[in-house]
């Protein structure tokens, strides 16, 4: 866990210094949410039932950007050699990178969730009820994304390969997240969708801990 904390701190420090999240990713997410609203038109966009789907589609786009960025940090000259020289535990590196990505996704998610309240007429209460399930889904996205980011790193066409590899894995998470959020909006029970997201989070964490080292070793 010490390795994980070190790696997470490193990634978050780079993010704080570069301010890419604040000045590029969050504005992109907000713009994408507005564009989705414009594409639907004022009548349909103003209906809160479409908000959960739009929120998660935008979050997926944002997540792809952030996974690419998280991966790009490791691709900088000398970084891989430094990690290899330090003899860091790959499982710790994986957890650390996923942790940093979770924190970044949660911060962006909070802003976009507020955006759904303002622009897509979701009640603040529904957004609050949905927020724990959003946190679990974003956690699963970050963990899966870290693994897929590692798989695509170093090859040709990394930026275009990542969506092809990761979106099929993200699709069940999108469905589960959207259903849980919709249930929160309509005041229904959300536990089944929570369960799917939680299982995905546990499975991807276990796979990442087991396989991240194999991917990095290559």
């Amino acid at each position: 866990m010490r390795t994980a904390w070190l790696v997470a701190q490193k990634d978050l420090r780079i993010e704080m210094r570069s301010r890419v999240l604040l000045w590029q990713v969050v504005p992109f997410g907000a713009m994408a949410l507005l564009l989705c609203g414009l594409a639907l038109g004022p009548t349909r966009a103003g209906h809160s039932s479409v908000a959960p789907g739009l929120f998660y589609v935008v979050m997926l786009l944002v997540a792809l950007l952030m996974i690419n960025r998280s991966r790009a940090i490791e691709e900088r000259p000398g970084t891989k050699a430094s990690v290899a020289t330090l003899g860091l535990d790959p499982a710790g590196v994986f957890i650390g990178k996923a942790l940093a990505l979770v924190i970044e996704l949660l911060m962006t998610g909070a802003v976009l969730l507020a955006g759904t309240v303002v622009a897509l007429h979701v009640s603040a209460h529904a957004a609050l009820v949905a927020s724990p399930s959003v946190a679990v889904v974003l956690g699963a996205l970050a963990v899966a994304g870290t693994l897929y980011g590692a798989l695509t790193g170093g090859g040709t066409g990394t930026a275009t390969l990542l969506p092809v590899l990761s979106l099929p894995a993200f699709a069940p998470l999108l469905i589960a997240g959207e259903r849980a959020f919709s249930a929160a909006v309509t005041g229904q029970s959300t536990w089944q969708w929570w369960l799917i997201s939680l299982v995905a989070l546990v499975v991807y964490t276990a796979l990442g801990i087991l396989l991240y080292g194999v991917v990095e070793e290559s």
Binding site: G155, V164, Y204, V215
Partner: protein, 240 residues
């Protein structure tokens, strides 16, 4: 014996497929509800069986064996690659035959049904596997990464399998066997349905063998071409 076994497999596959088609098109009766449309169901479940379980399963097991240090060999990587390619083709066939059946039955070519959607997602997973292989030039890196990806993709398989139980779907659930073991399809219809699984499984193994041999030939061809290119360069260097 080495040459006899593939010939026997090929002949058995061909005869089995011919039998399935003959029984399905000319011998079995029309269905009371579906009419002639039922004939498509003699091949659709067997194609899906090969796509999702036999070939994808082979790819995942071969990937696991490659990643396991004691059984690591490029043969396993090749088998995984070839099986995954076959699975992509069979998934496409599953969706096509399903669509042809769905249009007159459900009134649409495509429905946002859990089984259909998860199967299509599985197809994208497999295309991603092939894209990942093309993105890595180093054979060891390619083998490791695609092996890990295949195992991660396998986590999606229960979602496809149980989708008809977990969600309310248009796609039917278990048909041949119900939970208490009673058979729901009878006579020649049952035989043709079950035998198509044997025929298409045999077809998979025949295709796998052919594709594997092609892959070996491609690899040796590629290395021979590289050797020739290097020899040409050396000769150019010698002339200067």
């Amino acid at each position: 014996m080495k040459k006899l076994a593939p010939r026997l497999l090929g002949s058995f596959t061909l005869l089995s497929l011919a039998l399935v088609v003959w029984l399905g098109l000319f011998v079995t009766p029309k269905d009371q509800v579906q009419g002639d449309l039922v004939r498509l169901l003699y091949i659709h479940p067997a194609i899906a069986w090969v796509a999702l379980y036999v070939s994808f399963g082979t790819a995942v097991i071969a990937s696991g064996l490659y990643l396991w240090p004691r059984s690591r060999s490029m043969t396993m990587d090749r088998v995984a690659h070839c099986a995954m390619e076959i699975s992509v083709i069979f998934i496409a066939l599953t969706l096509i035959t399903g669509s042809i059946w769905g249009r007159p039955t459900w009134g649409v070519w495509w429905a946002w049904d859990a089984r259909l959607t998860t199967t299509a997602i599985m197809g994208v997973f497999e295309v991603g596997y092939l894209a990942l292989r093309r993105a890595n030039d180093d054979p060891v890196q390619r083998a490791r990464r695609s092996g890990v990806y295949a195992i991660v993709a396998a986590a999606n398989l229960p979602l496809v399998h149980f989708s008809v139980n977990w969600w309310r779907t248009l796609h039917q659930g278990a048909t041949v066997l119900v939970q208490n073991g009673n058979l729901l399809v009878h006579g020649l219809m049952l035989f043709d349905t079950l035998y198509s699984f044997v025929a298409f499984t045999a077809l998979f193994f025949w295709l796998l063998r052919a594709r594997y041999r092609l892959e070996l030939a491609r690899e040796s061809g590629a290395s021979a071409a590289l050797e020739n290119r290097l020899a040409e360069r050396r000769a150019e260097g010698g002339q200067k």
